[in-house]
Structures are given as C-alpha cells and as structure tokens.
Amino acid sequence: MRILDRLPLVGTRDRSFAAIDARRANLGILVAFLAPALLVYAGFTIYPVIRTFYNAFHTIKPQGVVEFVGLANFQTLLLADSTFWKAVANTAWFAIVATIVDVIGGLLLALCLFARAPLAPLLRVVWFTPVLMSYVVVGIIWVWMYDYDWGLANTVLRWLGLAAFEQSWLGQPSTALWSVLVAHEWKWLGFNMIVFLAALHALPGEVLGAAELDNCGWFAKLVYIIVPMLRTTILNLLVLSFIGKMMVFDLIWVMTGGGPLWATETVSTYVYKRAFEWNTFDLGYPSAIAVLWFVIILLFVAIMSRLLRQRDKLEF
C-alpha cells in the first residue's frame, strides 16, 4: 500500500493529489515534534516567570534559606523606596515620548519613501541600517558622539558658532534622559518605517485613486484616508513600542548606568542593580519590583487597547 493511500484526504477523491491535513495529524506526533520547543520555552520563559512571582513574596536569606514575607517587599517598594519612584517617572517619560516619536517618526519616514522622494532606495537603507545594530554598539557610538571634548554633537555646535550650547549631554540630569532617547530613536525609527511602508503598499490603490479624482489634497488624504486605514498597524506599533520602552535596559546601561544622580534610572536598571550590585543574594525585593512592573505594563496595554480600539467598521 502506498504511503499516499494512508494519508487523510482533503477535498478530493484523487489520492495522487492528496494533501496532508495538519489539523488531523495524530496527537502523539504533534506532541513529539512540539516537545523540544515547548521544553525550551518552559525552561527559559515559564519557569523564570513563575519563580520570579514566587521570589517576590519571599526573602532569600544566607545559606539559601527562603522566608515567606507576604506583601512586605511590595509595601517597602511602594511606601519607602524613593529610587523606585524616580525610576518609574523616568521610565514613564521615556516610554510615552519615545513611543509617540517612534510611531509618528516612522510614519513620516514611510510616507516619504511611499511618495517616492528622491534617493528613496538609498534613504531606506540609511534609515533602516541602525535597526540592525545591537543596543550595545549603538550605545557606545552615541557615548562617543556625546563626548564633551571630541564628540560629534559638540563639535558641530562649535563649528556652527553655537559653542555656548555645548553640553555634557550625558553628564547633566536635565539632558541625559533625552540624549539617550535620541540615540534610541536613531536606532529604532527605521523599524517602524519599514512596518508602515509595508502597510502603505498594502492599501487598496483604488481608494487612493478615487481620493485623487475627488481632488483630495495630500494632507486630507493622509488624515481622512491613510491614517484610518492604517489604524490597526498604528495601534499594534503603539502597543509594541510602549511595551519595549517600558522595559528599556541595554541602552541606558551602556550609556549612563542609570546616572547621573539617577536621572536615567529606569525600572529595569534598578531591578538589575538591586539584584546584582547591592551586596546581597536576596532576589526577593528585585523580583517584587519586576512583578509590580509586569502588572503595571499589562494594565497600560489593556487600557491602551481599549481606548484605541476601532469602534466602527471602516467602509470604503
């Protein structure tokens, strides 16, 4: 009997064209082939999450002794940890501003390319290339660019006769966070640009054509046709961007380490310091910070999704 004779048929009586229906594949085989990935996922994602929740309600004392402390870690965190609140404020500012700049900036760049600006193919490469670099490389590059003496930022200012605006960009609490934000946008705008560009190319051409026939200007076309049709993409990017910024760590760590004077301390860098730099092996408190932040991010995402969801079906 041929193998083909044993395969379940899908939509045809002709066994020579029989297709394999994955939905009817045997459970045992499915489990066996999913098992490696599931094991890795369980070991490196599910277990650490569960363990972090567990640690948040305990204190790990010397000699590996674990003591249940209930909500004590959360109490200290919320009522007596001023550094945590500074980190929350910094992270919130960073997340909100960077998300808005990410999405609006990415859309503008994509529109520029969609409108076939001069040198569009070159610009696409130039704008997307930083996305391919790691945060560590980006951080190092921008630390050099911001160096007071030989960095590009101050050199350009001096060249333009604006030496009075020279700054220690990463050394002043008032400029450090925004300087890191600029570096972040330099790296990340290209990603949103590509996503928006793909979405723009997927828009129905007849709708845009009809708008042009009706003498719709570019701004009106953007506001009344393109943006509403890109709503799903915008919402998805807003949510993804926001989640990413709320967990920002590597760029801050490389560029400022959370300084100066906690001006760039984020929740993630604070968790890392509490876990690895505070002369203690107690992971209870940093786990409590991580759990609380996880809950806060979930709440924000739920609120954002609810506020920005599409109420009326788009008709065209």
Binding site: I29, A32, P62, Q63, D147, Y148, G259, L261, N279
Partner: protein, 432 residues
C-alpha cells in the same frame, strides 16, 4: 495499524528529541581533573601573563590536572557568579574583592584557613579577608591610593613639589586654578564605568581630616556627614570642582580612558588612582600604555588644615581569589591558590605588574625599565600610616548606591551643593 505507526513515530521523535537536547556525553579520561577559574582583568596583560604562568606551573606539578581560566570584565563576572552560585554551579575558584562580603554571608565561599599555606601571605593582607575568625579569600593584589602627576607639566606651571611631596589644601587649590588657567586639565578622572574613582580626592581628604577611627565611623554609618569637619572637606572639594579640576567629560570617561587622558591625549596634570595604575600604563604604547618618556611622578594627597592624620594613606587589597563552596575539588583548588602565592610568584608580581601584593615577597632592589617608578612608589610609603580598606569595602546597599551616585559622580561632577551632598549621604548611610 495506524495507531501503532503513530506510537512508533512518536517514540522515534521523542528519542531524537532527547538525543538532540542532551547530546552524547563527552568521552573523558577518568583521571583528568579540570579546575575552573573565573577571573577579571583580561585587559591587563601583565596580570593575565602572571596567572597563566601560575597555571602552567601548577599543571606541571600536578599531572592530569588542567586549569581553565575564563576571563570576564568585572561587572559581567559579578552577574555570572550571582546566577551560577545560588544554582550550586560556577567555577571552582573565582576572582573576588574584599567588598564582596555577600559571598561570605550567603555561604558561597569556603574558609581557606586549612586549604592554603598562609605562611606566604602578609598577616595584614590576610586580616582583610578574615571575618569572624575565618579567612575567606587569598589576597593577591595590594595597592595604595596614589596621586600621580606629570612632572613636566608641574614644572611648566612654575610650581615646585614640596620636600615631603605634599601640598597644603590652599596650595593644591591654587595648583588646580593655575593648571586650568594654563589650559591644562588639572585632574584626569572619569566615572563612566566605575562606582569609586570620582571620590578619590574627597575620601582621601576625609581620611586625613578625620583620622582613621572617625573615617571608619563615617562610612559605617556612625558619624554624620553633617559633622563640621566633613562639611569643611566637602566645601574644599567643591571649590576644586568649581575651579574646573575635572575634565568636562568626567561623567562618561571610563577608568581605562582616564589613564590614556592623563599620559597621552589630551594629557592632564594629575591622576588620582590606585597603584594598579601600572596594569594599564606599563604596557607597550601601541596597546594603550604610557609613552616610554612620560615624566611620571607621585605626590601625596594634600594635607588637610587641622587634619587628624595627614600622614594617613589608603591601602587595600584588590584582586583576590576564593573557592566555591560547591566545588568538588576544594583541596586541589587550594593547591592552585598556593601555586599563585609562592614568594617567587610574589616577586614576579612586583617585577612584572609593578604593583604591591599581599604575598610575602622580598624585593629590595628593583630592576627593569620601571625600576625608578617602583623606587619612587616605595619612597612615598615611608612614614605613612595605612588605613586598610576603602569606603566601598565598608558601605553596602543603599549607602553603596548613594556613594556611587553622589560622592563618586554627582558631587565632584558639580551637580550637587555641599548641603545636598550631606543630606543625600546621611539619608542613605547615617544610622543615627
């Protein structure tokens, strides 16, 4: 039929999965033993060469034993240990520093009293690692905190070093102002990647002003930062900072870069640094070392007005090694530590790393290209009274974080007033 085929298929896939996940166990000779060592200081060639020589000599004297050193930068080493040790894993031997007492309190390193030959170690160095009557680390590197300077630049300013190599407070402030006016950077220092160098001038001044007992009380939370003597010192340091003592890129300049800034580009008058300065400076110029003709000098930190101990100096233990409590080869690991700590190795450390050591080494005459440096370094130790330990060995938790952000970075960086500094340090450190 179909059921049995699917069972056999599932079993085959499961076997393949297990094989892929766990792999075949490597074939090993039953007699081969490997001691795993995790070490910092990969970027200091002299120390790398020293430890690798110890490895070769140990392997020769212990046939069938291999020593494998994995090199890390300091912060990643700490993070790797903090994840490996609680899991009962990690290397047999690892690099530690005396401020890392959490390994002792958590029980992750074993007492070395019976595992190591202490006759080769200086008693004062052993004391740094002794807690509750037991010694947990073997000290390798010892260093003093020095104030290096460029002799030619000082000459250019028309200022002569006093006979005792120690300026007064006022003279030092004047030196900083004159250097800045002459277009020199007075003090090369950067806090871009370390939580302590920015505080060198402040804490050395506090040591000389307060004397060792009150200095210890200050950093163990028993003396307030609002103490008038402390405030006086902070005001003086503020004057230095406001006079432009530090470079403009102080906040982002890394420790290694500050060395280069001092002796190469753009050059600076002074560099407060531990005497581990040599690890980066005394390497070939094309590898970032100081030029052969660099006019290096060493002066004392300035004497404080009405200072309780102007002859005081910070000395401490730096690089040390400990044995993992989970190691299955503690005795062998102890023998490796002994191999790194013989008098011959101590002599080699001094003559190649150009740094003091906790190992007993009788080196009366120095030879080699940097002999003059070491002679001057020893000269600067004469008559000095040592305070063993640095503030970061004494502070923990929130106080340690504040030390890094405030005394190390914000205050010398000109971001904080004296009152703000006192307030923030007291909040984090003073126990009342």
């Amino acid at each position: 039929m179909r059921a049995s085929l699917s069972i056999r298929g599932a079993a085959a896939a499961g076997l393949v999965t297990l094989a892929v996940l766990f792999g075949a166990a490597p074939q090993a000779n039953a007699e081969d033993v490997t001691i795993e060592v995790w070490s910092h200081e990969a970027d200091e060639p002299a120390k790398v060469a020293f430890r690798e020589l110890a490895v070769k000599s140990f392997e020769k004297s212990h046939p069938g034993t291999k020593v494998k050193i994995t090199w890390y930068e300091k912060n990643p080493l700490g993070a790797a240990l903090k994840t490996a040790l609680p899991a009962g894993k990690g290397p047999d031997v690892f690099y530690v520093e005396p401020d890392q007492t959490e390994y002792i309190t958590a029980g992750y390193i074993v007492p070395l009293d019976d595992l190591v030959n202490w006759n080769n170690i200086e008693p004062w160095a052993r004391k740094v690692w002794t807690h509750n009557g037991k010694t947990y680390g073997i000290p390798q590197e010892a260093y003093t905190v020095e104030l290096y300077y460029n002799k030619d630049m000082l000459k250019k300013l028309g200022i002569a070093l006093p006979a005792n190599a120690q300026f007064t407070q006022a003279q030092f402030l004047d030196l900083v102002k004159k250097a800045r006016a002459a277009g020199m950077t007075p003090v090369s220092q950067g806090v871009g990647d370390r939580p302590y160098p920015g505080a060198y001038i402040t804490v050395e001044a506090l040591l000389r002003k307060l004397g060792p007992d009150d200095y210890q009380k200050l950093f163990t939370g028993k003396l307030s930062f609002a103490d008038p003597r402390v405030v006086e010192v902070l005001k003086w340091v503020k004057e230095l900072a406001d006079a432009g003592a530090y470079p403009k890129n102080f906040m982002t300049l890394k420790l290694g870069e500050s060395h280069y800034y001092f002796y190469s580009k753009p050059g600076a008058l002074m560099l407060p640094m531990g005497s581990f300065y040599t690890g980066r400076a005394f390497v070939p110029e094309d590898k970032g070392g100081q030029p052969q003709t660099f006019p290096l000098g060493i002066m004392q930190f300035p004497a404080m007005d009405r200072g309780a101990c102007n002859e005081c100096k910070t000395s401490t233990i730096g690089a040390s090694f400990a044995i993992n409590a989970a190691s299955k080869q503690k005795k062998l690991a102890g023998e490796f530590l002994d191999a790194m700590s013989t008098p011959e190795m101590g002599k080699m450390w001094i003559e190649t790393v150009y740094l003091q050591t906790g190992i007993k080494a009788d080196v009366k005459n120095f030879s080699g290209p940097y002999a003059a440096y070491f002679t001057e370094l020893m000269e600067r130790q004469k008559g000095e009274k040592y305070f063993i330990g640095q503030p970061r060995d004494m502070v923990t938790g929130e106080c340690k974080d504040s030390f890094a952000q405030v005394l190390n970075s914000g205050f010398p960086g000109g971001l904080l007033s004296v009152d703000q500094t006192v307030q923030m340090m007291n909040k984090a450190c003073f126990k009342g």
